[in-house]
């Protein structure tokens, strides 16, 4: 008798490998074969049977008192000759009920499953799919802009359909509730820029021009852009998630079968609210940012009238109008892209999260691109 071994740490199963001179190998199993002992036995047998000096393998399972699915899996694997492809394998002594349960195992299922694994796309295919995706996305955007525009016309001629209460609700949650974060960020950005600029400007004795810089930069650029980015992250994602969840819950289908256009019923309210609140928040952000700059200048020892004088001489009402105008455009972009992403939500548990992410990414991207276009346009016009 050789090859006898009790599986360590799992005394439930016991196996013996018996050899006789004529190339017969007998594997005698006894005890309980469950998920824990089966995985250990699996490893042991793989080593023991790696190069068997035999032509046939007989598995004697008469001693098995209990065997769960994992154990049956091992027995099936052995008896199908998968571990020992060169040997002829027979299984005997298995209890009738286990024998019956063994029938649900099949190597064909396994091979069929292996062949069904998704084939990986080649790089060219992936690039192609991505390009088609972008093209389709652009097409959907154009269609969406058309829907929104036509919806807006209908809405303005049928004022009762505007649903002012919904507009107010969005205005409050996306606008009023955003005041604290807009305040903190604008104030701090104003402070930081003033601090950073004060040191190099001091070398030229031009510290007083910090006021000019902070005025222009907050009013023309950072006020509108920061507000828009904050809105995209805070409210845009909320719009996309809200509409996405409605789509997943079939609420959008319900609207459509009731003859209500989701764009007119849900999107336009958010768009209107955003159109109203973004310029307001933008102006608020401009002033808070400038306030941050003023605080730094006061700290540097400049008197307040002097700072205000500098601001007045550098920031024109046209600059404020320009910044506020940007706020209008950014407001439309943030709400529009967020609602579009929400409506594009597909099925599945991760779809809503994906839409929210896409709304923030596309929102910020479009904001920056539009801002660059504005800068280029102003440059060309002034030439």
């Amino acid at each position: 008798m050789n090859g006898e071994k009790t599986i360590p740490r799992s005394p439930r199963v016991h196996f013996e490998l018996l050899k006789d001179g004529e190339g017969r190998l007998v594997l005698v199993l006894s005890g309980q074969l469950d998920a824990d002992s089966a995985s250990l036995l699996w490893r042991e047998l793989k080593q023991e049977l790696a190069a068997p000096p035999a032509t046939t393998l007989e598995i004697d399972a008469a001693g098995l008192t209990h065997c769960d699915s994992a154990g049956l899996g091992l027995l099936y694997f052995l008896s199908a000759g998968q571990m020992t492809p060169d040997l002829q394998v027979t299984l005997r002594g298995l209890k009738p009920e286990l024998q019956k349960a063994l029938q649900s195992f099949s190597m064909e299922d396994y091979q069929a499953f292996q062949s069904q694994q998704p084939i990986k796309q080649s790089v060219t295919e992936e690039i192609g799919t991505a390009v088609i995706g972008v093209a389709n996305d652009l097409k959907e955007m154009v269609v969406f802009i058309g829907q929104v525009a036509s919806g807006l016309v209908v809405l303005l001629s049928h004022r009762r359909q505007i649903r002012a209460r919904e507009v107010l609700r969005v205005f409050e949650s996306a606008g009023v509730n955003a005041l604290p974060i807009v305040s903190i960020i604008s104030l701090l950005v104003g402070l930081i820029i003033a601090f950073e600029a004060a040191q190099p400007l001091a070398q030229f004795g031009a510290q007083i021009y910090v006021a000019n810089m902070i005025g222009l930069i907050m009013v023309r650029e950072l006020g509108p852009v920061m507000t828009a980015i904050l809105l995209a992250g805070r409210s845009g994602s909320a719009f996309a998630a809200e509409l996405g969840t409605m789509k997943v819950n079939e609420e959008l289908n319900a609207l459509e079968t009731m003859g209500l256009d989701p764009v007119r019923f849900l999107v336009l309210q958010r768009l209107l609210a955003s159109l109203l609140l973004t310029p307001l928040l933008t102006v608020y952000s401009m002033f808070t940012g400038v306030l941050g700059g003023i605080l730094v200048m006061l700290g540097l020892g400049f008197p307040l009238p002097m700072i205000l004088q500098q601001l007045e001489s550098s920031v024109d009402i046209k600059d404020i109008a320009f910044g506020t105008g940007k706020g209008f455009v950014f407001g439309i972009i943030v709400a529009g892209i967020a609602c579009l992403r929400g409506l594009q939500t597909r099925a599945g548990p991760s779809a809503v999260g994906e839409s929210a992410t896409r709304s923030v990414v596309s929102g910020i991207l479009l904001i920056v691109i539009t801002d660059a276009l504005f800068a280029a346009l102003i440059f060309l016009l002034k030439k």
Binding site: S69, G73, S104, S106, P349
Partner: protein, 252 residues
């Protein structure tokens, strides 16, 4: 508390509910090893609440639930894990993970609880899928499957670690009569061949008559069990108006 060996679940004077709202009280019953036990009741009678207390998702307000003689609320560490592994649950919606393929879903408990080699887990998972007769590719995502197929896949996941008890929450909800009869046959087969104890929450009379050995009936108003016994016997001999109404569709 010691339990006789043929009792697999015992519930002692259970009070269940949410916050300060009592939904069920004075609940006492026992489930015997290997039987098909059904929890019946109208909508809102606390069937699902009772189930969630049985499987340890909710903590009982009073009383205790013993599974294999152990209290799931007080069990800790390895004991709790062993207790959790001793039963499978088929949720009403199937609760398959949408981002994983069917096979990955079924394999998940094996990945978590065993150290079998990868292809062995696949082999076992595929055998369970064959057992529940899922006639579709296991490499598909749950969202691509019909409701009946999802239930079958979820059932395969619930039994992949060979639990001794299987809890079924409204298994026929949202399914057509033919599919639900097929599932009933499958449950019956599981209970007979694999010696699994089944605890079914349902209000489907055909299913109850087809598979249940013993039932309890819950009442929303009295907040407790109003009848216990074999469903065919209760249909013919019950005196309680609600139970008669439930089984015979008689006016109350």
């Amino acid at each position: 508390m010691s339990t006789p060996p043929d009792i697999i679940i015992s519930v002692h004077d259970l009070t269940a509910g949410y916050a300060d709202r009592v939904i069920l009280q004075h609940i006492n019953f026992e489930v015997r090893r290997g039987e098909v036990f059904a929890i019946l009741g109208t909508s809102g009678s606390g069937k699902s609440t009772l189930l969630k207390n049985l499987i340890g998702l909710y903590t009982p307000m009073a009383g205790e639930v013993l599974i294999e003689g152990k209290n799931i609320v007080t069990a800790e560490g390895d004991d709790r894990l062993r207790l959790l592994r001793s039963f499978g649950v088929l949720y009403q919606s199937g609760a398959l993970f949408g981002s994983m393929t069917v096979l990955e879903n079924v394999r998940l408990p094996l990945d978590a609880f065993t150290r079998l080699p990868g292809f062995a887990k696949d082999l076992v998972a595929l055998s369970k899928l064959r057992l529940v007769d899922l006639k579709t590719s296991p490499a598909r995502l749950p969202a691509e499957l019909s409701g009946g197929m999802q239930k079958r896949a979820a059932l395969a996941r619930a039994i992949v670690t060979d639990p001794g008890i299987l809890f079924l929450d409204e298994p026929s909800a949202g399914l057509d009569p033919i599919t639900s009869a097929e599932l009933d046959a499958l449950f019956k087969e599981l209970s007979r061949n694999s010696h699994i104890t089944l605890v079914i929450v349902t209000h489907e009379l055909p299913s109850i008559y087809a598979i249940a050995d013993r039932v309890i009936v819950l009442d929303a108003e009295r907040k407790t069990i109003v009848a216990e016994g074999n469903p065919h016997y209760l249909r013919d001999h019950a005196t309680d108006p609600l139970v008669r109404h439930f089984f015979r569709r008689e006016a109350m």
